[in-house]
Amino acid sequence: MSKKSEAPSNRKAGRRSPLATVALLTIGLLSTGGAYALFTTSATAETSAAADAQIEEGGKLFAANCATCHGMALQGTSQAPSLIGVGAAAVDFQVGTGRMPLAATGPQGEQKPVQFTAEQISALSAYVASRGTGPGIPDEKYLQGDGDAAVGAELFRINCAMCHNVAGAGGALTEGKFAPPLSGVEPAYIYEAMVTGPQNMPVFNDHNISPEDKANIITYLKFLDNTTSVGGFGLGDIGPVSEGLFIWIFGLGAIVAITVWLTAKSN
């Protein structure tokens, strides 16, 4: 098994010089613009050897864990899409949140315990990124949650709330698919989801929502995470349905219990 998985990656590495891979990576990242500044700096000459080793490690992991569905050359199969050009961000999101590798096919890949270590995920990301240009790992400066929450909130309501709900509580999509709740999601994953549009989510590229505005949206979501629910317990933040159920079951339930109690003794 391990031999099989090693063989193709070795062959691929043999076909290109190590510098060619770095050059490809650098060109790809430069073309996607300033958002990937951090990543391009990491791909400088002195780290290229380490990067090569990482890509090689990622290749092995890919062949062992992903290639069955996505194909040895990332070309995709009838079971899964091609990964050429999805970028490091897509891999980091899908694998980092445990959605990939899939446990079973279903309406959509669901979050589950993460299968790989952080190093393995970076290796996988680097490997996939090395096979085609795509969005990279987001710059730390956009993930601090120090942007403008008001702008973020407005963008969130306009672009995200129709699926994820205004409070980020999630919502239903067609055929059993759903937009997941957003509370407690790490800023990097929020950013990566926006640039890569995982599964049923549309892509919000940098022309659509600028990196600064993505940072604003993250700021708003972090604000919601870090603010105690105003006015008491939020009842799941799903609006009037839970409020209605609450008043019928607990409100009226308590009051009926009181009326039974008040009239009990005299009978």
Binding site: I158, L224, G232, V241
Partner: protein
């Protein structure tokens, strides 16, 4: 009562307090002759059964709504003038919104006690409509709408509609995203009316939706028009309640001509006062601990975004559900006109359903042909067809209600939203039918059980071996009081078709005979005293 107390009070020297109340009562009575009214109303009897307190719950939550609502009017600006928000809630700072939304946010974050009052008002409103609903169900299932109370049923029904109107207009006032989405649905429904729809929409919104008038108009309806009618009808409702007196469940000493319970003065008044504060307390407790309608999360209204999980408050849910359950493609193009059956059908079904609720008492009175007054509340099982019709209605309503939260059912129970909608579509038709037959069978079975117990007593669990070797279980007989509860109910037989004075059988009579057959064909006759005597001699 007063005569028995007089010697006692005479023996004690009246204190300064008693002298003052005596003087004050006299002063007022001499100028208003109120003592007649107090004598009349003060002897109003309230039976002791928990289900008779549900109307009170509605009344008290309405008082809480009036109190908290008055507070809110001091700070709320019913205006759609655009302002830039500059309050305490960071994620809305610098955002343009209407003055209505701005003032509601200020109420929530910057006015002392404002958020609590908002939440008290909203929770009390939900409780108000819920308790009206439960109160109506109680009245329906115990047959308390029968003569002479049909008019009060109609008034109560109008109060229910007004409560929903109050609720919906209140929900729409803050001009947040959720309320705007709700209004947009109303706008869509109005526009779905053929020919005049668009005109009515423009009239209501003062131009193209959302316009700049609607919040002000809704405010007038919400705090003036609807409450004024509501309070007036509430007065009539309670006056008729005193005139008609309460119903009561059958029991020893309880007849069609009396009411057994406690008089309003002083026992009930004291109890009711206490109960009011309990209701008030429960509402404030809920409002203190549970968030409701966080408009700051929804943000100001903007016609473009619609949040996932956008629902109306629970009492409008059945209308939302009706819209969701319409199958796709129900639109007919007639030349240049589009006939929106997808809107017209729910728009027609809902009033028909509500009309059935409103006019049911008259229908049942026509079927039974019963012109007597009824002051003894039915146990639901003793009117199997009515109870079954009620259960079918409740099921119909409940399916519509559930359909309004189809998306949340889908996400929370890991189902597909299409599956939930399809299931609700089927249930909307099949559910009431199943509920009808199941309920009717259960009622008849319970009546049979009651009959069995009345005649033969209940199983004591004591097994006795007779000298001959036979084992029997000893049945304990009910006492007279308990049996009375089981055997006293009005019994109707299917109408026998007979020619009238002119020797004809009219179509109306035939129709009535069919309806009467439907109602009373399956029935368990009440146990007669002869039967009881015979069953006793058997043992």
């Amino acid at each position: 009562m007063t005569t028995t107390q007089e010697p006692q009070t005479a023996a004690v020297e009246p204190t300064r307090g008693t002298r003052f109340t005596g003087w004050a009562a006299n002063y007022i009575d001499e100028r208003t002759s109120i003592s007649g009214l107090v004598k009349e109303v003060g002897r109003k009897i309230f039976p002791d059964h928990w289900s008779f307190m549900l109307g009170e719950v509605a009344l008290y939550s309405f008082i809480v709504i009036l109190l908290s609502g008055t507070f809110l009017t001091f700070f709320f600006q019913a205006s759609m003038v655009p302002v830039i928000y500059d309050g305490s809630w960071v994620p809305l700072k610098g955002i343009e919104m209407s003055a209505a939304m701005d003032s509601t946010l200020n109420l929530s974050f910057d006015i002392r006690g404002g958020l609590l009052m908002r939440q008290v008002h909203h929770w009390a409103a939900l409780l108000f409509v819920a308790s009206i609903g439960l109160h109506m169900l109680r009245v329906f299932f115990t047959g308390a709408f029968r003569k002479p109370r049909e008019i009060n049923w109609i008034i109560g029904f109008v109060l229910f509609i007004l409560a929903m109107l109050e609720g919906f207009t209140g929900y729409s006032l803050p001009d947040d995203l959720l309320s705007g989405n709700g209004l947009r649905i109303i706008d869509g429904m109005v526009k779905g009316v053929p020919i005049v729809g668009t005109w009515i929409s423009y009239l209501v919104f003062g131009g193209e939706f959302p316009g700049t008038d609607i919040v002000g108009r809704l405010y007038t309806v919400h705090i003036l028009l609807a409450p004024a009618i509501l309070v007036a009808l509430l007065g009539v409702h309670m006056l008729l309640l005193i005139v008609n007196k309460h119903t009561q469940f059958a029991g020893p000493g309880r007849t069609n001509d009396n009411v057994v319970g406690v008089p309003i003065m002083p026992v009930f008044a004291a109890k009711a006062g206490g109960f009011f504060f309990i209701i008030f307390g429960v509402i404030v407790l809920i409002a203190s601990f549970f968030q409701i309608n966080p408009i700051w999360v929804y943000g100001p209204y903007d016609p473009s975004p619609v949040s996932a999980g956008t629902q109306p408050d629970w009492y409008i849910g059945f209308a939302d559900g009706a819209l969701r359950l319409v199958p796709p493609g129900w639109e007919v193009e007639l030349g240049v006109f589009t006939l929106s059956l997808n809107i017209m059908v729910p728009l027609l079904i809902l009033p028909i359903f509500l009309a059935l609720v409103a006019f049911y008492p008259f229908f049942e009175a026509w079927v039974t042909g019963d012109k007597r007054e009824h002051h003894i509340a039915d146990r639901p099982r003793n009117a199997p067809t009515r109870t079954a019709i009620g259960a079918a209605g409740v099921t119909f309503y409940a399916v519509l209600w559930a359909a309004a939260s189809s998306d949340l059912i889908a996400t929370h129970f890991k189902l597909t939203i299409e599956g939930v909608i399809n299931a609700c579509q089927v249930l909307l038709i099949i559910g009431p039918i199943i509920a009808y037959f199941v309920t009717k069978r259960i009622c008849l079975a319970l009546q049979k059980k009651d009959r069995e117990i009345a005649l033969h007593g209940y199983e004591s669990g004591r097994i006795v071996r007779l000298p001959g070797g036979e084992y029997i279980e000893v049945h304990e007989q009910l006492d007279e009081y308990e049996r009375w509860k089981l055997v006293s109910y009005s019994d109707y037989k299917p109408l026998m078709l007979r020619p009238d004075a002119k020797g004809r059988i009219t179509f109306g009579q035939r129709l009535r005979a069919v309806a009467s057959g439907w109602f009373f064909e399956d029935r368990i006759e009440p146990v007669t005293s002869t039967e009881i005597e015979r069953s006793h001699s058997d043992h």
